[in-house]
Symmetry: C2
Subunit: 222 residues, 2 copies
Amino acid sequence: MTTKPTITAFQRSPDGGIGLARDTRVRWALEEVGQPYDVRLVTFEAMKQPAHLALHPFGQIPTYEDGSLVLFETGAIVLHIAERHAGLLPADPNARARAIMWTLAALNTVEPTVLDLTAARIFEADRPWAEERLPLVEDRARVRLTQLSDQLGGSRWLDGDFSAGDLMMVSVLLRFRVTGLLDEFPALSAYVARGENRPAYRRAFAAQLAINAPSNGKDRLG
Amino acid sequence: MTTKPTITAFQRSPDGGIGLARDTRVRWALEEVGQPYDVRLVTFEAMKQPAHLALHPFGQIPTYEDGSLVLFETGAIVLHIAERHAGLLPADPNARARAIMWTLAALNTVEPTVLDLTAARIFEADRPWAEERLPLVEDRARVRLTQLSDQLGGSRWLDGDFSAGDLMMVSVLLRFRVTGLLDEFPALSAYVARGENRPAYRRAFAAQLAINAPSNGKDRLG
């Protein structure tokens, strides 16, 4: 019954291998629970084709295929892995519900502010309003980061032991690093560093880097 | 063991009772599974105070209290209700994972575009860039709505029977109605109408309207 799942990832990630593509989150979850997996790389062109859209109607990565089950949406894939393996959700029902809560909070309360920030910094960088608008978007993000930092306080993880909630929150916070905002919150920076130091994260990061690093040979040989 | 949960809601919702405050989503889930609940109303001032922040570190509504369990984050509350009662998640494991997937897709793939749109239309309405930027933000939202509409096709619900995924997607799509964008997508408009016609949604909507309608007497008597 236990099959080896296949995930999809960018053939070449737009982030150049710094680990922000969402397949890293799924890789990390699979590494935490010790589940081997296969990867199928897809080009940007292939992501818009019917074969990929049949797996992911929004034309993104990652997808997750395990036997007859096909999933997209990173949060759902991580929760699915967490439900089927020990290691990412506590056994206590209330603690488990809270770990799922933090997973969702990362995705729906914190991540929208960094998506907005990324749009302002990159997609709208050449617009006439870019310079004047950016501080506004940054301030909206700072509100969330301040609240999150207050909540974390001096704790190692958000609620007891490391959980899927931490995996997702650290993954979302990593997106703030390139914006410079993460550095403004020392407690959150330290929290992210703890996530990055987990052996499972290191393996996940290395696996995506092997594909995406500029020096991996694809540019020279391909 | 079965206790009556208490949720929080705005004492007076900024939307004036059109059902877009997130407690409506939780009310709807509770109505679908037939679970009675209590409501505690909170003012905007109270939401910033320690007593509320202890329940919800991001200072928002809704929260969910059931015995010793305290949850915030609407998606997590809805999934918690869906896990503990029949009616919102299919029994088949793969179909169940897909229903959770659609719940997350509503929150992390579709909702960020309408949050961005709301920010552009309301919070940034008086900024010098407002008029020129809005079409850009609308186009980003249209990409997602087109993909979602293609996926739904002529189906009644996203994946077989009505599930938590539809509850959340309809709730997110309702936010597009006031922006005018929902009307551009007839299949999605019809899908939203099917959601609104469910008796459970009607009860949830009526319950929040009883608090928020301008004519409910609070302005005159309070």
